[in-house]
């Protein structure tokens, strides 16, 4: 069975380590916050200028001056700090964020990522994504493996305008956990009940399968 959005978030959360500063993108990455293990401390960075993002507010706590990068109302956790946008991206570009999780339309076997526009169809902009992929060393891309029509999103070469070049090393899809190195996709884990053949069929770029591929633990 392909993973649900929540299960993708849950698997990403297993990659979190105690003391990590983490930036979570909009969509599935945001859900990762719901699965942070109780026995570790993680601080969430929101690129609009908040380190130490807390839970959503209660109706009484809502504050128009306190939002996350997805423009949702949030709260601040104990130990939080706020700062301007240049400071925020100094943290990001300067490589001070330990893990970045973000979505994509396509990734390719050379570690390229396309996530911000579909020419003629969807032009919303890159927001902070280009800075995040350029600045972070440890990035996990979360996405569906293929479109509803079975068209692979893990490609030989991205077809859409790039958000970043040669910067993606790890991809978690609804079917598989994949590492990118030496111009190839390497299958690390498969979603429970999903066969290696199924993953090969839906991966356009070269996929290296070495030995028995374990099922993900959620």
């Amino acid at each position: 069975m392909a993973l649900s959005r929540e299960q993708i978030a849950q698997r990403v959360a297993n990659e979190l380590k105690d003391g990590y500063y983490v930036n979570l993108g909009i969509g599935i990455p945001t859900l990762v916050a719901n699965f942070i293990p109780d026995d570790i401390e993680v601080m969430l960075q929101s690129e609009n200028g908040l380190l130490g993002m807390g839970q959503f507010p209660t109706e009484e706590e809502i504050d128009a001056d306190l939002i996350n990068a997805g423009k949702q109302t949030v709260t601040m956790a104990a130990g939080a700090s706020v700062f301007d946008s240049a400071e925020s991206f100094a943290m990001i570009r300067g490589g001070h964020v330990d893990l970045t999780v973000l979505g994509a339309f396509e990734v390719d076997a050379n570690g390229n990522i396309a996530s911000y526009m579909i020419p003629g169809k969807l032009i919303k902009g890159m927001g902070g994504a280009m800075d995040l992929v350029a600045g972070a060393d440890n990035i996990i891309v979360t996405m569906t493996h293929a479109s509803k029509h079975g068209v692979s999103k893990l490609l030989k070469n991205c077809t859409l305008p790039l958000t970043g070049k040669g910067c993606i090393k790890k991809v978690l899809t609804d079917l598989a956990f994949i590492e990118i190195k030496d111009g190839k996709f390497h299958l690390l884990e498969r979603a429970p009940g999903v066969s290696v053949e199924e993953i090969i069929k839906l991966t356009e770029g070269e996929l290296v399968v070495t030995g028995d591929i374990p099922e993900m633990k959620l």
Binding site: K71, S85, G125
Partner: protein, 241 residues
């Protein structure tokens, strides 16, 4: 003698001198920390052909989006322009020029502009459409592109509190691009929720020194929320973001 007193008495006075085809830098992220009333004044004045530099362009009926129906904006430099139907229509029809700029690069362009640095190298955007036509330089084995600073004819800024000298304090994530915009305007106009007497703000707590500020006005704000997300008051409920 006005001395360092930056307070003006009307919005008309606050935006005096803004003329067609000028560049205006605005603070704000989405609808958070935007200079609502200064934007309304630009709409009222009907100034046209503006180049706007702002992270976003508001929504259809609020924020910088209110300048779209009368075609007051010629060009916008922004990182994210979703949530705005009229914007999309004008862009697709070629009536509005859009320069999509990565958010961190946009912030740094303002910071550099205000700090007298004409350009800087960044790895952001290398190998993407953003790099087209820009100089590439390799430092320590990695490619970087040259990005130019931005200076505005006007900068419009929203802060929380100020003293009459224009020393500014921002509140929570309403800070965002505002302190950067404040440094990068030839004329910087700031609106705040409260103006206090000189000496009342703790110098250690001032985010933007008054030297950057030319005009200051106290306003009232709607502070519209784009995405109202809440959790139940019951502490047993699931933990949210």
């Amino acid at each position: 003698m006005a001395g360092f007193d930056k307070v003006v008495s009307s919005y008309e006075e606050a935006m005096a001198g803004l003329t067609d085809n000028m560049t205006v830098i605005s603070g704000g992220f989405g609808l958070c920390g935007i200079p609502e009333n200064l934007i309304s004044e630009i709409k009222r004045k009907g100034t046209k052909g503006l180049t706007l530099v702002s992270n976003n362009c508001g929504v259809d009926d609020f924020g910088l989006g209110v300048l779209l129906p009368n075609r007051q904006i010629k060009k916008i430099v922004a990182s994210y322009v979703g949530e705005n139907a009229e914007f999309e229509r004008q862009m697709m029809a070629g009536e509005l020029e859009v320069e999509l700029t990565p958010q961190g690069t946009l912030a740094e362009k303002m910071r550099a502009g205000g700090a007298g640095i004409p350009a800087f190298f960044t790895a952001t955007g290398v190998g993407t459409p953003v790099a087209e036509g820009k100089e590439v330089r390799n430092f320590n084995g990695r490619d970087y592109i040259l990005e130019e600073a931005i200076v505005g004819d006007f900068a419009i800024v929203k802060a929380w509190k100020a003293d009459r000298y224009g020393n500014l304090v921002f509140r929570k994530t309403a800070r965002n691009f505002n302190p950067l915009a404040a440094t990068a305007g030839k004329i910087t106009v700031v609106e705040v929720e409260e103006i206090v007497e000189v000496g009342e703000l703790d110098p250690d707590q001032i985010h933007t020194p008054g030297i950057y500020v030319n005009r200051l006005i106290q306003g009232t704000f709607e502070k519209r929320i784009e995405q109202r997300t809440t959790r139940p008051a019951d502490p047993q409920a699931v933990k949210g973001v």
